[in-house]
């Protein structure tokens, strides 16, 4: 149990997906301008991440490895994730329209998001078991949410700032991200 809490907290604080692993930088910089879109996007990421872990982990451990096909990991994972996201989108559209309206538009974005593929691959480099992998996916997703929400707040402040011309726009956003990442360095050693 302690172990699971450690993995969960590490995913949020010390090994934050965006701020220390640079996964999911595109949505982090692209969709973080408004708080509510940032939150919806993050919820969709959490959902897809946990779901793809639930599906890809057994496929890798029970089908690919016993048959000596583990070199197909990359191809199988990306195709499974793409198909899964498509299915979820269709399912939401048909059966849960309110959820579809809230998260649906973010789903196709997530298919080619390095965060989801990255996390499903990371479970195996860290040799997590199935439960640990799910907790790790959840922790990483929540970590993404935390980073997105924090950064959306900072960006709304940046909008009203008077910034020198060469740094205006993307450069100052990246430097702000650097400062957020720096503050997250302060958590190192806290867990794990």
């Amino acid at each position: 149990m302690n172990n699971l809490i450690t993995i969960f907290l590490a995913g949020i604080l010390t090994e934050n997906m965006v701020l220390s692993k640079f996964l999911g930088i595109c949505p982090f910089l692209g969709v973080s301008k408004k708080l509510n879109t940032a939150v919806s996007m993050s919820l969709a990421v959490i959902f897809v991440m946990v779901l793809s872990t639930l599906v890809t982990y057994p496929i890798y451990a029970n089908i690919l490895v016993p048959n000596g096909l583990d070199y197909l990991q990359t191809i199988v994972f990306i195709l499974v994730i793409a198909a899964l996201v498509q299915l979820v989108e269709i399912f939401f559209k048909r059966f849960v329209p309110p959820l579809y309206r809230a998260l649906g538009i973010y789903l196709p974005l997530i298919t080619t998001n390095c965060a989801v593929l990255g996390i499903t691959l990371l479970h195996f480099t860290k040799e997590y078991n199935f439960v640990e992998a799910i907790v790790n996916a959840l922790g990483a997703g929540v970590g993404f949410l935390v980073a997105m929400v924090l950064f959306a707040g900072i960006r709304s402040k940046l909008e009203t700032c008077d910034i020198i011309k060469p740094l205006n726009g993307l450069p100052i956003t990246l430097i702000a991200a650097s400062i957020v990442a720096l503050s997250f360095l302060g958590f190192s050693g806290l867990v794990g």
């Binding site: 640079f22 990359t74 990306i78």
Partner: protein, 228 residues
Amino acid sequence: MSSLRQEFSKGLILENPVLRLVLGTCPTLAISTAAINGMGMGVAATLVLLGSNVVISLLRKVIPDRVRIPAYITIIAGFVSIVQMLMKAYLPTLDKALGIYLPLIVVNCIILGRAEGFASKNSVLASAVDAIGMGAGFTAALVSMGIIREFLGAGTFFSLPVTSQFIEPIKVMVLPPGGFFVFGILIAVANSLARRKGRKPVDSLGCHGCAGCEACPAGQSEEGKLNE
């Protein structure tokens, strides 16, 4: 011939995938802790790009329009697996250093972007030249960022000690915050140079080459719909 030269050189400077189009940010930030890693990542991505551009260009009349993105992803993933296996066999240390960022080339926007934006519309030769040019631009950006971060953060140049014996290196530069910082400064420099030449500076993330572009509300109207 001159048009081929143009296809090649545009990737290096005018349309540099990292500094001008702002694509492939994840590997750029993650891998550039050392110049040699940047080089390895750049070469690996170039090989994948070359393979996928050539194959997609060859198949551009065969692949039905509706399933082209999954088809592209499968082709790209195939080449990534080949590069992964080659690297594991011949360059195991580099393979360890690149870690999960090597398989993540599959979802690198540069590669899908070139497949969708160039290889699916152009001849095999032009696509191959475009791939080499874009790959070279990606590699150049990664290596220069790697050199800067390695020099500032570890005081070395391609692992050779330069200032590390007598100046305490700024360690944070090889840590994640340094990645964001150096990248921000580089974009600012590229923007200033572009402005001086009378070109438009980049002011947002270039996600237009991304595979999700068609479905993504951000791609269709410059983040319009998402941020309303």
